[in-house]
Every structure is written in C-alpha cells, then in structure tokens.
Symmetry: C2
Subunit: 247 residues, 2 copies
C-alpha cells in the first residue's frame, strides 16, 4: 500500500480520529473485556499490525500511549504485557503515605468490619449508582513501619463484585479486583484535608484525642472510566507523610 490515505484517516470531517487512536481504543476495549489477563502478553507488534491491516509503526504508537497510561508494560526482547496490580505497582502508583525516615513500604491490614447495605446518598453520588443500589463497606486499620498508620473506610458497588463477602479480604484489594473480577483500576483522584481525631479514631490509631490527622478521600476508576471505589482514610502524620510529585 503506497497510498497513505485509502482508509478512515482521510475523513475531511467531522469524526476524524487518528488511526493509532482507533487501534488504541480497540485494544483497550479488548483488554477491558478480559481478552488478555493482567500479566499476560499481547501478540507481537507485527502480529497486531497484520491482524488490523495497519503498519507496525501505528501499532507501536498505540502501545506506547497505553504504556504511558500504565495500562501496559513493555519489556524489550520479551513482549508487551497487560499491567497487573502487584504490590509494587499499587505501592508506587496508589499508596502515597511513607514513613518519615525510611523507604516506601506496603502497609498491613487489620479488618474491623465488612458489610453489605443499601447505598447512602453520598455513596450513590460519588459512585454514580442508581437509587436502591447496594454497596459493600469495608473498614480496616493499616499498619506501617510497625505501628498503626491509618484507618480506612471503603465503599464498593456490590453489583461489580458478586460473592465478595464469601471470600477473604486481601491486603491488596486492587489485585483481587483485577484477577477475580476483571476490574482493573486505572486512575484515582484524591482530595486531602487536615482534620481532628475524634475519640473512636484516636483510640484505633493510638493518638491523643483531637490530634491532627490527614483525611484522604479517594475515588478510583477502572480502565473504562467507571467509578469502582470510594475510600476515606484518616492518617497519622506524626511519623508518616504523604508524597506528591508535581510535574
């Protein structure tokens, strides 16, 4: 094919989308459908190019964009893999609380409560649910560097996680979402405030009543943009801090 333009690309208007964007969309959809599991290799660039009848360069551009979005991991000489939510990824992408003197580490968990119930108004708003939708609620204390660091309350749309209560609640929730339910967390927005510890929280975290705590509210979304998790954390910052890279 010598002529570049005998395709979708030359639409003079209005829904023009670059070919690589279309390729990307297609691949994202296939990953979201679970066609390739987390950690699994995609076909080679040349293979995909042949299948879709586009050039390898176009496929490469789509894969590079997906890699930049952390959807894929490329390994030279080996292949291109669907990103998995192993502890390392979750630690660096999603867990921003760090011991003051030391290195980043993954927190442990002590479960306080798991329940299912009708979504509150707030939960419906944040998670974009219908009236009467049900949610799973999790409450747990997490330890870091040998002591309690935070207490977190998590709300999940029950419809996305059937049978959730019958299993264990693992330390790394996002890993479970991905492997058991095919729900891959892609991005999260966090909102931070400073608040005072009330009596219950102070006890759970072992700090004086009224101590300043960092409150983190997170909404996590999957690859296709669905709101999947609402999480509120209350964090000690006397021995820990939250890191944020501005770039």
């Amino acid at each position: 094919m010598t002529d570049t333009t005998s395709r979708d690309t030359d639409q003079t208007r209005p829904g023009f989308r670059p070919l690589y964007a279309q390729v990307r969309e297609l691949l994202v959809a296939r990953i979201a459908r679970g066609e390739w599991a987390p950690g699994e290799a995609l076909p080679s660039e040349g293979q995909i190019a042949a299948d879709l009848d586009v050039s390898q360069g176009t496929v490469r551009k789509a894969l590079d964009a997906m890699t930049a979005d952390r959807l894929l991991v490329r390994r030279q000489g080996r292949g291109t893999f669907v990103a998995s939510h192993d502890e390392n990824r979750v630690l660096f992408q999603f867990f921003k609380l760090t011991p003051d003197g030391g290195a980043r580490e993954f927190p442990t968990s002590r479960l306080l409560k798991v329940e299912t119930g009708r979504a509150t108004a707030d939960e419906r708003t944040v998670l974009e649910l219908r009236p009467n939708a049900r949610v799973i609620r999790i409450e747990r204390v997490r330890d870091l560097a040998g002591g309690p660091a935070l207490i977190e309350t998590i709300s999940l749309p029950a419809a996305l996680f059937p049978g959730f209560e019958k299993g264990e609640v693992p330390n790394n929730l996002y890993g479970l979402f991905a492997t058991r339910y095919g729900v891959s967390i892609a991005v999260a927005s966090e909102t931070l405030k400073a608040v005072s510890a009330d009596a219950k929280v102070a006890t759970d975290l072992g700090v004086p009543n009224g101590s300043p705590l960092l409150m983190i509210e997170r909404v996590a979304r999957s690859i296709d943009g669905t709101a999947v998790e609402w999480r509120r954390s209350l964090c000690r910052t006397d021995r820990f801090h939250y890191v944020s890279e501005l770039r």
Copy 2:
C-alpha cells in the same frame, strides 16, 4: 544516507544513548542556557533536523518527550514553543489547593516579610548549598475565594537571584524566576502532613488556636535539576482541599 548505523548509535557499549536522547539533551541544555526564551518558538522540526544532521522523525521524538515533560508546548500549524510560567500553567501544575465548592483559582498574596541571611543547616541540606551560602526568605499570606487560605515561608538560594530584593515580589514567583533570571521550574516534590495551628499562625489565618492545618513542604527544581526553592505552606482545609491525581 541509507545506512542507519554510521553514527553514534552503533556503539556496542558502554555509553550507548539513543540519538533522540542526545538531541533532547542538547536542546534542553540550549533552553537552560536561555538560547530561546520562555514563550518563544524553536526552529521548525525540519530546520533542527537539518542543523543536527538527523532525520525529522528523530527530532520529533525528542520534542515529543520534552513536551510530555512540559518543557515545550506544541501548537499545530504554528510551531513548538518553550513553555512559560504563566498563571494558568502554575495554577494547574503547581497549585493544588482548591476551594471546596468551586473551581481552581489563583491565590492573591499579602507580603509579610522579605529578608536575606545566612542559610540555616536545614536550608543548606534541602537546597544543597555550601556552608555560608546566603538565602532569600519570603513570608506571605495568600487568599483564596475571598479569605485567607494559607501562610507560606519560602527560601531561595540568593546566588541564583541577584538583586531580588530591589524589585517587587510578584504573586507568581515562578514567572519572575523564568523571565528575569532564566530559571525555569520544571518539577517539584511535595510532602504533606496534618499539624495544629499555633497562636501566630491561627491569627494570620483567622482560625481558632489548635485548628488542624495542612502543612505542605515543597522542593522545586529547575530544568537542570538544581534545587531552586524550599517552600513550607500551612493551609486551612475547612474551606479548601488539596487535590492529587494518581496515574
């Protein structure tokens, strides 16, 4: 040139660097030297390619990488421009405190103090300065959405900003750094904690003594990696919140 390899690229070892990375490095150095001012256009891709005797595709890859790092702004049909620190960029890249109900906005400033002095031990460590180095210190209160939002203390290496005290202290410091001193802030790391307001700060911010505040410590670095600013902010979060996008 049909043979791809008659260049630096085919070094079998050890200091192998892709051509586009070398091009990028060169261009970054020239920008850091002030060869093109913020807001100014670079030569066209073809021009740069011809000058450096590489292909346009290689130049494009270098420019794309620099654009991803927010060093450049590309505008189709017009050219490639050195990123400037206008209020919009500073607002979205560096100012993460937002009014609770409303849209992001740029804060105003009320100057409390400007002074020059010998760097403290902390300042020397954070800003990577020699013993006896001098620093400029700025203290100001910043208003957002019609009320005091934060009080910030800033330390700058005096050597980088000669004559700083003779001029005004603008609201947008990074703009001044770029245009007057050729120092372009590229990245910043922030560390967040929750603390209690002491009497002085409580007065400045108009909150009760002991109120929880968000403390933000920032180290900002220029294009070439030099630590340029150490900033500590104490923020009200009763009407504001800090946003952090995890991706």
